[in-house]
Symmetry: C2
Subunit: 373 residues, 2 copies
């Protein structure tokens, strides 16, 4: 049995037949057979196929970006996608793909390798952000779509959108990159490297061989806590928790949690661990460290110069410590040097890297403006 998680309402695209005989050729050269990619759609495809928005996600969400007839649960970008919302599904046909390598329906380390009958685990080949972009491109092909009006994504999804524009420069009109970067900084790499080490230090990880009942949940919890710290911002937490204490407990043991912020981290990390596969986390996390626009041209600027979208929007948040604002400035500078048409929105949101998920007001406005200028 696979270690995948079930998401209601997804469709699984089997990759186009031109890959059929040789399998899916990955960016670093490995071949992956029988690849499926999960996706969801909202809105209707126009007669001219000219209203497609392809959306890539951050590391942890599924393709369920918004509620739909097939799945009425709220999605991870519920405020952004829907009729009359900033990404207006009355006008656009939105396709959100579950990243290749993620555990929500796409082929991943949590899937069963049909050739062996076992879960891939560490037998899954090294994953690149480019592979996620390629898998998204293949989904559009299975839908008979050659051209996207806009390719976009936040965080890892922003890196994937950049990879898409580099790999398929003639297949998209516009690009929106949110809280992402041309490549990871050493500080960001160190956070992710430690997260992976926390998972791998859990004896239950067992070199990637476990099933859902024996998964390394403590390692995942610790990694998620570190994730939450890097996704948020010190000043937001100061406003939200300050030094608020938990009620005194009679049975309190030495080093039990005492502060509200510790309780928040406990609660949120526990919620997450049973919702994501540890091996998938490792692969996707490493893919973000390795991605580098400079591999597509020698330097970051040379890579960016190869992108020839009509309109580009780069959004960054000043309180982001994981993808600091300098990195979105670097993207903007690159587009400027290459004389591209771009807009750089530097937002004052206080919620750090996660602002795109929670600062509805600021993010709705800049995304709305992009599609209505």
């Amino acid at each position: 049995m696979s270690n995948e998680f079930i998401v209601k309402g997804i469709t699984k695209a089997k990759l186009p037949s031109d890959y059929g005989s040789t399998g899916f050729k990955m960016f670093k050269g490995s071949i992956l057979n029988s690849v499926e990619v999960a996706y969801e759609t909202w809105g209707k495809l126009s007669v001219n196929n000219d209203n497609v928005i392809l959306l890539f996600t951050g590391l942890s969400p599924s393709s369920h970006a918004a509620s739909s007839d097939k799945n009425n649960e709220k999605g991870w970008w519920e405020f952004m996608i829907g009729p009359n919302k900033p990404i207006d599904t009355k006008k656009y046909y939105v396709v959100c793909v579950n990243s290749l390598g993620s555990c929500f329906g796409s082929t991943s380390p949590a899937s069963v390798n049909k050739e062996t009958g076992d879960v891939y685990g560490l037998n899954f080949p090294e994953l690149s952000i480019e592979d996620i972009a390629k898998a998204g491109h293949s989904v559009l092909q299975t839908l008979g779509i050659d051209y996207a009006h806009t390719v976009m994504g936040p965080s890892m999804g922003g890196m994937t959108a950049l990879a898409y524009a580099l790999l398929y420069p003639n297949s998209l009109s516009n690009l929106v990159v949110i809280s992402a970067a041309a490549r990871a900084l050493p500080f960001t790499i160190s956070i992710r490297s430690l997260q992976r080490e926390l998972i791998r230090s859990d004896p239950l990880w067992n070199e990637g061989i476990y099933d859902k009942e024996t998964a390394p949940l403590n390692g995942m919890k610790l990694a998620r806590k570190l994730g939450l710290m890097s996704y948020r911002a010190a000043n937001e937490w100061r406003e939200r928790f300050n030094r608020a204490r938990l009620p005194k407990s009679e049975n309190k043991k030495m080093f039990d949690i005492e502060f509200e912020v510790e309780n928040y981290l406990n609660h949120n990390s526990k919620k997450f661990v049973s919702m994501f596969d540890p091996n998938c986390y490792l692969y996707l996390s490493r893919a973000m460290d390795l991605f580098d626009v400079a591999e597509h041209g020698g330097t970051v600027n040379a890579g960016l110069a190869k992108i020839h979208t009509k309109k580009n929007l780069i959004i960054g948040v000043e309180s982001d410590i994981l993808f600091p604002i300098d990195q979105q400035e670097e993207l903007a500078e690159g587009f400027k040097k290459a004389k591209k048409n771009f807009k750089f929105e530097k937002l004052k949101s206080i919620q750090g890297h996660d602002s795109f998920l929670v600062d509805e007001k600021n993010f709705s406005k800049v995304i709305y403006n992009f599609f209505n200028d």
Copy 2:
């Protein structure tokens, strides 16, 4: 056998006899018996006893702040302390104490409880920053010193210096608080809380019962890595490591380290784990979360108003993410509101919280100026 570490050249002060019959009364009410505090000194005490600088340390160093006749190894603040150095031992008699609760000669969770013959471990009572200040005060008493020219410290040592000025307002003339705060922010608490959880998640921690041969070294290594991230700054690492890779290895396994920054973290954390006791780390770390100047007056400002030193110097670093510059500004504001004589030095050092250890140029200058104005 204790879990303490041996430091050459220290002296151990047995606490003054006025505590003798009842033991050392801790800030939160517990009694600790047979308390010893390790310290080192540099320079000569003046005839009038008016040239004493009492130095408290950050969480991890010993009292060996600088080399001396008794121990010629370099100390943690070698560039700062010595003849003709910013803290000039030709003029001043410098006393650096190993914090109560630390494993370098002072009574701590790593010490043997003389009543039971066992290492304290978690039977050590809850530790407060105020206890460390009180232990430092007792050291001066054993030396026959009633009054310090200056009490100072960086990081946890800065908090301890504040606690000292609050507990013994008539026992010091001047105060120097470096990269510290009136109280910890929730973001800082969350980093330290996770560090403690990493140690406690190591099966070898065993609820604090281990000896040096069976200590939870992996948990310590993980905690130290997170520490290093919080002590340094993203931009420094960008300049220092950027995305430099390690040489390709034939035997590389999936998720082995690939970047120089990962190698740096491995190297530095491995070096540390065999040099500090895990239980001591837990106690000192928690003490920093709990310290709050507001407990000495109702609010931070009311607490600071009770300090009546003649001169106060507050130093902060703009790139510090553990004790962000706002927190030193808060201290400065408090002194300003209370109409105290203070100077606030906001340094542009790029090395984050650890700048006081490495930015010799900027730190030497402001400390020199303080003692020579």
